[in-house]
């Protein structure tokens, strides 16, 4: 199809029999299965892929490994995708991003012309005068910033998560990683070998390690077959280990799955990132790293248009040149920044092939071709001293430049674990030190670069891992690597700038230096002021140059200058995979289906769902009024299964409760309930419930729906200290409960077949009993939250439905009506009962909310006692009171403020229209001087309308408590 594709053995990754096509920027692109979007584009000789962040310069690929931001593209679903990581076969439409007009003719490219008016950090220097103007500039700047466009309509795709465990996780399946994995597995360890590429072999798949290429192929075949034969190695290909977290917890992204790997030991064999040379216009499409050219040829079989130039800072670049020549690429020249090659045979080999080599020279400036979008020629200059050039030696026409200034260890994962980068001056390279326990390095990341040494280093790492696992291992081999891979100063500042240090952020040499000149000398401040390293590649190609430049500008060593902290993740990762499938647990009481059948309007209560009332939301007021009416005059029934339940058994059960809750429980008789208030150590009311003494050594305690988990946890924590002889069990789900309330409730229970004498004498208010209702075992408590004769029946959850059905059918004769929580809130308010969490807040102590009576002053201790006493000894700052006003007044809402001489003195916590009382009634915090019944208070309601309310003694309803004692 495309004339530029080479035959095998080039193009290992593509399947020439499976052509694929997609649209890029409106044009049809053809490639093969196995191509990335970028290799397919390059196969059609299209090098313009994106526009840069700030100056909107045309950009093409740099690393071809998905390690830079030059190839960020947009798909219909998603912005900011690395085109080098996108499989061509999966795409339909791909486009460039961050331009105005078209990718080829971006009108924002004007910004490149204006560049000299936009110094580093220019946005700190302008746009705010006169005051107020920034708002308008901001809108414009925001629009030009940002890269792709989010598609606001996409729905999350299906993705899932899996846990994996292994003895040794080896990250990177190059020669070092495979060697390490083989050694560790041979010693009996379970090994996980993880590589981001869809193949194993790493650099062996494209980089020759000597003059002859056969060694590479031979070695690759051998390692792969050993890998296939090894029993306890699991290979994860196309799997990116994207971070290292404490205790070797590794998130690995593979396809649509997030694997969470917990390893015992972790071997990093992540290799190194090749570094660009910094010269004017080093970002023009057509300028790539040497390794990128090798990948393009060997992986994708794309032989780009020549002629090409290789810019060398080390011997490795010559090997690239040889690979290119072998593939048939026209090589115009090799420009070597050094005086000579380390290995003379390499220079000779090129001379033999008729390639001109310039030594002590550099490309000082690149020029675009006539289109302005692609490399046209390069200017070669003599290097005089580090970074300084002399005269122009040659201008070479070329369409492609491959460069290598050296290598930076792929340090990210190690640095997530706290490792440090130290600059080794003799090698002009950073090396990793201070690894966390259980982390080992092998190969390129360990600054070892010759093939033999890389494999040996891998085997050593495998042995060390075995020892760490207390398994036997051979002695380590001696590993040596004298290869110099880094040029000490591949940075050539140009008077007209545009020598890019950071491609992501469009930062030139002067930007870095000027940051230091402005006083941002610390490398972290340089980063923050200039934004170097903040882009998608997180400094992979800029950290080394930045450290060198700042060291020079601030008169420090490169080690002292250092690099900024590497933070997870290694590569940008999709949020959808991190989120995964969502689990939103919802708890339903056993009566849930009954409520829905009855037309309940369900609302959340913590993770539970409860009926608010029965009926349509549009008829809310009427429904609640009818339900309230039924309870007040006949009988109602409410599902209170969500109430927390805690079972306490043991000789110290009473003592335990006595220490936890504010009231006294030691002398509580069997068969009686007591109100139980819990205060925090700060003296604040945090929960309440009812404690029923079922036997001498057995209590059943309720807690609030949303509070029970905390109460239970606190109980366990306290008893871990007190070590009382009591078993504490949370039985919230084991029991369900209903409350039958209203003057006819006794009749309902009787006719439902309750085997208890329910008379007031035999079963008085606040008593509790164990009994049976129609054969169903229940714990019955006579409580009065809503202020009527009432029975709370707690039943094993399995029997809740039978009990409900039985009560409803027995109640039919008495017109029993189910009621919901909102009705219950109204009823309890009429009765003046507080709801902890609604009528109390994070500061409410018992004295403020009228719970003094529930505090036992006689006992020596309860949780929070010291604080409660101090608080209650202080003059009250506010007090919770009941208030009422006419039904015709504007109804205050919960949260409205109580105002006194212009100041805030409190707030409304509950407020309802009471049909029973024909009044608006509520609870509010008021100034203590206004707390006596009869006082007037001012409440500021909606739209700042103030209303006068009168403080009323609680309860509003049935002050003599006659009804619940029936």
């Amino acid at each position: 199809m495309s004339p530029r594709r080479l035959d095998a053995p080039y193009g290992q990754l593509i399947d020439r029999d499976s052509p694929v096509e997609f649209e890029f920027d409106g044009e049809l692109i053809r490639g093969y299965r196995g191509d990335s979007v970028v290799s397919a584009l390059l196969g059609e000789d299209r090098w313009l892929i994106s526009r840069s962040f700030k100056y909107h310069r045309p950009r093409g690929p740099l690393s071809l490994a998905g390690h830079d931001a030059n190839t960020l593209v947009q798909t219909p679903r998603a912005p900011n995708q690395l085109a080098e990581d996108l499989d061509a076969q999966d795409q339909e439409i791909v486009s460039g991003q961050n331009f105005l007009g078209s990718l080829r003719a971006d009108r924002y490219a004007l910004l490149d012309r204006l560049g000299r008016f936009l110094p580093v950090g220019f946005y700190y220097r302008a746009f705010f005068k006169p005051r107020g103007i920034w708002r308008y500039w901001e809108a414009f700047i925001r629009k030009t910033a940002g890269l792709g466009v989010a598609n606001l309509r996409v729905k999350p795709r299906y993705s899932d998560k899996q846990y994996l465990f292994c003895d040794v996780a080896v990250v990177g399946a190059g020669p070092a990683g495979i060697s390490a994995a083989l050694t560790a597995a041979a010693g009996g360890a379970e090994v996980l070998l993880i590589d981001e590429n869809p193949y194993t072999g790493g650099a062996l798949t494209y980089h020759r390690f000597g003059l002859e290429d056969v060694t590479r192929e031979h070695m690759l075949a051998q390692l792969r077959s050993s890998l296939a034969a090894a029993a306890n190695i699991r290979v994860l290909s196309g799997a990116t280990c994207n971070a290292w977290f404490s205790d070797h917890y590794l998130p690995v992204f593979q396809g649509e799955r997030l694997l969470k790997v917990r390893a015992n030991t972790c071997i990093l064999a992540t290799g190194s990132s090749e570094q660009p040379v910094v010269f004017r216009n080093n970002d023009v499409p057509g300028i790539v790293l040497c390794s990128a050219l090798e990948r393009l040829l060997l992986h994708h079989g794309v032989c780009p248009e020549g002629p090409a130039v290789v810019l060398a800072g080390n011997d490795d670049a010559y090997l690239t040149a040889l690979t290119a020549i072998d593939a048939g690429l026209t090589l115009a020249a090799v420009v070597d920044m050094r005086p000579a090659t380390d290995n003379p045979a390499l220079a000779a080999a090129l001379a033999e092939r008729g390639v001109t080599c310039y030594f002590n020279a550099t490309v000082y400036e690149a020029h675009e071709d006539a289109s302005g979008l692609r490399l046209g020629s390069v200017d070669v200059y003599n290097i005089e001293t580090a970074g300084q050039v002399g005269a122009l030696t040659a201008r070479i026409e070329c369409q492609l430049l491959a460069m290598s200034a050296g290598l930076m260890p792929a340090y990210q994962l190690a640095c997530h674990g706290g490792a440090k980068l130290e600059y080794v001056d003799e090698k002009a390279a950073f090396a990793l030190t201070q690894l966390p326990e259980g982390m080992l390095l092998a190969g390129g990341v360990n600054s070892i670069h010759t093939l033999e040494a890389v494999c040996a280093d891998g085997r050593n790492a495998g042995r060390q891992a075995l020892r760490a696992l207390s398994r036997p291992a051979d002695d380590d081999e001696a590993v040596e690597c004298a290869l110099r891979v880094n040029h000490p100063w591949p940075i050539f500042k140009h008077p007209r700038g545009r020598e890019f240090v950071d491609f992501d952020e469009d930062l030139q040499v002067k930007d870095i230096i000027n940051s230091a000149r402005l006083g941002y000398r610390d490398i972290q401040l340089v980063k923050r002021y200039s934004t170097v390293g903040m882009g998608p590649s997180q400094g992979r190609h800029s950290a080394l140059t930045t450290a060198r430049l700042i060291a020079q500008a601030t008169d420090r060593t490169v080690s002292e200058t250092g690099v900024t902290t590497a933070r997870p993740p290694v590569k940008p990762e999709p949020l959808g995979l991190l989120a995964g499938r969502r689990f939103h647990p919802v708890r339903k009481t056993p009566l849930d289906s009954r409520h829905r059948a009855l037309g309940a309007h369900m609302i959340p209560a913590g993770s539970w769902r409860r009926p608010a009332f029965y009926g349509k939301p549009s008829q809310r007021t009427a429904c609640i009024a009818a339900e309230a009416q039924a309870v007040r005059t006949g009988v109602g029934i409410i599902d209170v299964s969500t109430l927390g339940g805690i079972d306490l058994r043991g000789p110290d059960a009473a003592e335990f409760l006595n220490r936890i809750y504010t009231y006294g429980f030691l002398k509580q008789p069997v068969g009686k309930t007591r109100y139980a208030v819990l205060t925090s150590e700060q003296g604040v009311v945090v929960d309440d419930g009812v404690a029923a003494r079922l036997a001498d050594e057995h209590f059943y305690v309720t807690a609030t729906t949303t509070g029970v988990d905390r109460v239970y946890r606190d109980m366990l924590r306290w008893n871990a200290q007190w070590r009382l002889s009591v078993d504490i069990a949370q039985v919230t789900s084991a029991y369900s409960a209903v409350n039958v309330a209203g003057p006819r409730s006794r009749d309902v229970l009787e006719s439902a077949g309750c085997d208890l004498d329910l008379s007031a004498e035999a079963f008085p208010y606040l008593a509790c009993r164990e009994a049976c209702v129609g054969g169903i075992p229940v714990r019955i408590m006579r409580v009065g939250f809503v202020g009527e004769l009432g029975y709370e029946l707690h039943v094993p959850s399995l029997m809740a439905q039978s009990l409900w059905d039985r009560l409803l059918s027995a109640g039919a004769a008495f017109d029993i009506k189910p009621f919901g929580v909102e009705t219950q809130r109204l009823l309890r308010l009429e009765k003046g009962h507080i709801i902890v969490g609604q009528d109390t807040d994070g500061m409410s102590h018992p004295g403020e909310v009228g719970l003094e009576w529930a505090i036992s002053r006689k006992k020596p201790f309860f949780v929070g006692r010291r604080s409660v006493e101090i608080l209650m000894a202080q003059p009250l700052k506010r007090q919770l009171v009941g208030f009422s006003l006419s039904v015709h007044a504007p109804q205050p809402k919960e949260g409205h403020l109580v105002i006194r001489s212009g100041d805030i003195v409190g707030n409304v916590t509950s407020c309802e229209v009471s049909a029973t009382l024909n009044q608006i009634v509520g609870l509010a915090y008021v100034h203590p001087d206004d707390a006596l019944p009869g006082c007037d208070i001012t409440i500021r309601t909606d739209d700042a309308v103030c209303v006068q309310a009168t403080v009323v003694a609680l309860p509003f309803y049935d002050p003599q408590n006659e009804r619940q004692a029936l």
Binding site: A78, P79, N80, L114, R116, P119, V120, Y123, Y124, F127, K129, W134, W137, E138, R142, K143, A145, G146, L147, G148, V149, A150, N151, L152, V154, K155, P156, S246, P251, P495, G497, K510, L518, G519, Y520, R521, D522, Q524, L525, P536, Q538, R567, P569, P572, E573, L575, G576, L578, A579, R582, H584, V586, I603, G837, D841, M843, G895, H896, L897, T909
Partner: protein, 415 residues
Amino acid sequence: MPLGLLKYGRGDDYPYERQPDLPGPTELKDHYDVVIIGGGGHGVATAYYLAKHHGITNVAVLEKAYLGGGNTARNTAVIRSNYLTPEGVRFYSASVKLFEGLANEFDFNIMYSQRGQLTLAHTDATVRAFRQRAEVNRHFGGRTELIDRKSIAELVPCLNLDPAELPVLAGLWHKDGATARHDAVAWGYARGATQRGVELHQLTEVTGINQAAGRVTGVTTNRGTVGCHTVIQAVAGHSAILARKAGFELPLVAYPLQAMVTLPVKPFLNPLVSSSALHCYVQQTGRGEIVIGGGSDPYPLYSSRASLPLKESLIASAVDMFPFLSEMRLLRQWAGITDMTTDYSPIMGVSPLENYYLDAGWGTWGFKATPICGQTMAQLVASGGQVPELIQPFALERFDRFQQVNEMGATAASH
């Protein structure tokens, strides 16, 4: 193109005649009138106002690492005043007011951006609390209101109003809510302070507080000892550790707090949006990145490591709120150490030592207070220990007096 930028076109290099923003390193003097420990936003703001408002310039700010590198560098820059207590609302409102004029005062753009902050309520308990906050805010002149689902949908059309089985019931819309370039705030203050003669010493760690007869006489650092008349500690996450060196305890517990950011996209989200029930907030920076944050880690720790479980849960919540975020890419994740009080209010003012002042307990919410802290701490020092009224409620002794200023409900999910 603003005219102010034209001068940069004169030469290819930066115009050198300008003073640098921050002076280079110098030797420590033997004695200063005031030593400020901690070169975060609070430390340099205090120095700035000491110099600017009170003419006190013999001041050294000692920073163990680099300027603004602590929580000032890590925070997500939510600026708001929609707190719950009158004390809190008055204090933070004063800070918001100062923020509004800061760029012009500094002649340095802090990119203050008043976008409004929207907090979502998913339960009626939260609706009640929000109504109260709106009322208290309005009482003090703030622009805050309770809005319904329809208004929320108009404000943020891309928001999912029914996330995670937790339908949004209402929202607290705080028009004064804002954000700013956090680093620039520290730099602007440091620049203004050093231009007035204050010394900023980076890589200078205070290792001891020297005392005689109940008074502080100076501090010991990794670069030697300096004497001083007054000391202020403003070290956020390390407050309890430093106080212990000074010989007293602070009721603080340190928890890691994490945040994360995506690759930048074109603007689509204007307000800062947070959800009380999902413990998550989402906002878009001027660069176009989406910042995602939430509550602190659930256990105390003095480490600023990031973790996977928190990342998973925070992002799951963010995707619940904005489902399309699932196709966006996460760029970076980080953490800071926050010094939490039990009532979610700071500790400011005097300490058990006579000439040693406290600015601590800033937890997850202190960035927004940077200007007002600087101003009130400077007043405190300049007046020789008269505590300004605005910060009296935040005194350390409130914990003994049981007079806490409870902002828990107004702070937990949205800093």
